[in-house]
Amino acid sequence: MSNLPISKCLSWFGVSALAISVVFGFDLSIAAAAADHAAESTVNTFISDEKGGGGKGAAFVFWIFALSSLGGAIFVITRNNMVTAVMGMVGTFFAIAGLYLMLYASFLAVMQVLVYAGAIMVLFVFVIMILNRPEDEPWVMHGILGKGVAALGLLYLFKRLAGILWEVKDVQPLVLDKAALNVDVVLNHSDPALAAGAVEAITRTYEFGSVEGVGYTLFSKYLFPFEAVSIVLLVAVVGAIAIARPTEEESAEDAAEAEAAKEAS
């Protein structure tokens, strides 16, 4: 068990996860029998319901995005050339942003494109350019047996998850028109000191999922996580610089090389 290569570590991790899912499989049947439908009854949306303004057009759009995101994902994990993989990933992220739009998360769709496709993937491309190495043996499990077992395990996990998630929909379609998506939010200060200062309750209306709506949530109820994320980002920035910058000897070597090149020319 000591000194496992990392891919073996990851495989071991995944296989254990699958094994636990088999154990849970036993438990799931008990739990599913005893389940009541409270969770299901709150989630009851037909995205492409005729009355909701979707219909077959929405279905068409969904399938386009779904197939392109799934196809892009499979494309990513099967490529040997890393730049191609990154491009596939960008396509996947755009498709996922489209799915977010269908889910009335317009602000998040924009963020998805800006942060993932615009920033993270560019970072990946930079690192690929720094490394600049072709990949030799890309696949971990060489034997057909290992791959077969892994594929079967993953299919089993997917079947269980999909089985559970497919049950989530309810029979009653919900009418989701513009009016239903307008949210009334009452801002009131329960703190008596503030309330005494003649702060009246403000009623505002905005569209669900808009910048205004998400922003309002982030700066009121989610103020703490919003600020706390900045600590994570700071740790990431400082940490990345601390370990990725050249050490003093390496900068000295680089300087010496540059000097030598200058003299040679």
């Binding site: 068990m1 000591s2 000194n3 496992l4 990392i6 073996k8 570590c9 990851l10 071991w12 991790f13 995944g14 254990s16 996860a17 094994a19 636990i20 899912s21 154990v23 849970f24 438990d27 799931l28 739990a31 599913a32 005893a34 389940a35 009541d36 439908h37 409270a38 969770a39 299901e40 709150t42 998850l161 559970i164 998630l165 049950e167 989530v168 939010v185 801002l187 009131n188 200060h189 329960s190 703190d191 009121s220 109820k221 989610y222 103020l223 703490f224 996580p225 706390a228 600590i231 994570v232 700071l234 740790v235 990431a236 400082v238 940490g239 990345a240 610089i241 601390a242 370990i243 050490t247």
Partner: protein, 491 residues
């Protein structure tokens, strides 16, 4: 509906202190205000002491058994969270002292180290005070990202970067499971608030969505505490990291993960019964705990590198802590939670101490991480050998140390839960404690009954000596006078 009350900021105490001093340290490093690294260390320790004071102050201002929510339920502050914040800040301070000596001796002066360490501690406090899944997620990521960087901080060391990438890839994989689990839990209950989840589950019992969510969360947290079968990164990351960072991972990160598990499993998903009860989490954890204790101890028996041995031993201790968690989950009115906290304290102090001796004994020419390097320490330096013996006894659970009482208390409360439903687990645990005596005593035997190979040239650092003395004193004090600590825990 939405309010930010100025009072909420009062409960931020330790979190705010750690974050601000962390920022100050990063700025001090960036603008080279302090060329002397010693000053950075002193500032770190001062920050930790202030955080300890802030948490104790907040602890005193809270009702026993009561809790306060702040920032619209994002934070849930109770005496347990303040106890844990004190623990995290204290450990961080002690490890900063070890870190300064180690950096100086092995010449890897990375000034960002201290700032990142304090921000990691802030992340841990966030987990301990979390009232919402989002807060737990942010806390875990703050802590983990900082620790990944700290693992790789000794940049000339190939082992360091190798341990770091292993730790990072497996950790990021686990955080994928964590987020997916939280997403499913949100779908099952309609809220991310922990109290809200517990209220929603009281009505709906368990839908299959909840069970799938619990499955994902078990994988994610299993990784963080290095429970088997999610432990394989631990020996390599522990060995590759600089020794003070290893101590930080073993003591503080593990305690913080346990704090997160208390919040998520015991408090939000709580009220489970064994075997294969409503949620099923305690049954799965019971199996994982038994395997973790056994395999961790057997793995430790085979090691001759002391850092790897302590890594496997910390895996085994994670198993014991899981027993306590299950107890707290299935018998909420019992003493399970207090016993977990007491165990965390005893385990962390002994871990910091043991790694402190590992830091103390080595030097630039010879790091002395193999057990054969420890031959003859008892004759050469009786005081250090005696302190190390104390820590080993505490790990093995032999009186008169804190570890003995912690184990006794934890197993006793496990026996009383649900009419002895955990009897078999306690028997496995006690048998494992006996196995563990072998390898802990192997170190003691090496120190006292073998001839030294070469002269010992330990680090001559007052800070390290202080850490050893403080930890040794605490281990003894916790073993002989546990009642005071128990009264802090509300028992």
């Amino acid at each position: 509906m939405i309010t930010i009350v100025p009072n909420d900021f009062l409960y931020l105490g330790p979190l705010a202190v750690l974050t601000l001093v962390g920022l100050l340290l990063i700025l001090a490093e960036a603008f080279a205000i302090a060329r002397s690294r010693r000053f950075l260390m002193q500032l770190t320790v001062a920050g930790c002491v202030m955080a300890v004071i802030a948490s104790i102050y907040t602890w005193r201002s809270l009702e026993p058994g009561g809790h306060v929510t702040a920032f619209s339920g994002m934070l849930l502050v109770d005496r347990m969270s303040m106890f844990l914040c004190t623990l995290f800040a204290g450990i961080t301070g002690l490890i900063a002292m070890l870190g300064a000596a180690h950096q100086h001796e092995y010449n890897w002066q990375v000034g960002e180290f201290y700032g990142l360490m304090l921000l990691a501690a802030a992340g841990m406090c966030m987990i301990a005070m979390a009232g919402d899944l989002i807060t737990i997620f942010i806390g875990i990521e703050t802590m983990s990202l900082a620790v990944y960087v700290m693992t790789a901080a000794r940049r000339r060391s190939r082992a360091g970067s190798e341990g770091a990438i292993k730790y990072f890839l497996v950790g990021a994989f686990a955080s994928g499971f964590l987020v997916y689990g939280m997403a499913l839990l949100y779908g099952a209950t309609g809220t991310t608030n922990l109290q809200g989840i517990s209220r929603a589950l009281a009505v709906t019992h368990s839908s299959s969505l909840t069970v799938a969510a619990i499955f994902m969360l078990i994988i994610a947290f299993g990784f963080k505490i290095a429970a088997i079968p999610f432990h394989m990164w631990a020996p390599d990351a522990y060995e590759g990291a600089p020794t003070p960072v290893t101590a930080f991972m073993a003591a503080a990160v593990k305690s913080a993960a346990i704090a997160g598990m208390i919040r998520v499993f015991v408090q939000a998903l709580g009220g489970d019964v064994v075997p294969f009860g409503q949620m099923g989490w305690s049954s799965i954890f019971a199996i994982i705990a038994a395997i973790t204790m056994t395999v961790g101890n057997i793995g430790a028996l085979r090691q001759n590198n002391i850092k790897r041995m302590l890594a496997y031993s910390s895996v085994a201790h994670a198993g014991v802590l899981l027993v306590g968690l299950i107890t707290a989950g299935i018998a909420p009115e019992g003493e399970g939670l207090a016993s977990v906290l007491y165990y965390l304290l005893a385990y962390s102090v002994a871990t910091v101490g043991a790694f402190g001796v590992v830091v103390w004994i080595g030097n630039r020419d010879r790091e002395r991480v193999l057990i054969s390097d420890w031959y003859g320490l008892g004759a050469a330096n009786p005081a250090a050998a005696m302190v190390m013996t104390l820590f080993m006894l505490s790990f093995a659970g032999i009186p008169p140390t804190g570890g003995f009482f912690a184990k006794f208390f934890l197993f006793k409360s496990a026996l009383m839960a649900q009419d002895g439903a955990l009897m078999w687990l306690v028997i496995v645990g006690v048998l494992n404690s006996m196995i563990s005596i072998f390898y802990y005593l192997k170190v003691v035997m090496a120190m006292y009954f073998r001839e030294a190979t070469g002269e010992f040239k330990p680090l001559n650092s007052g800070a390290v000596t202080f850490v050893l003395v403080a930890c040794g004193f605490l281990v003894l004090q916790m073993g002989m006078m546990p009642s005071r600590w128990l009264s802090y825990l509300g028992v």
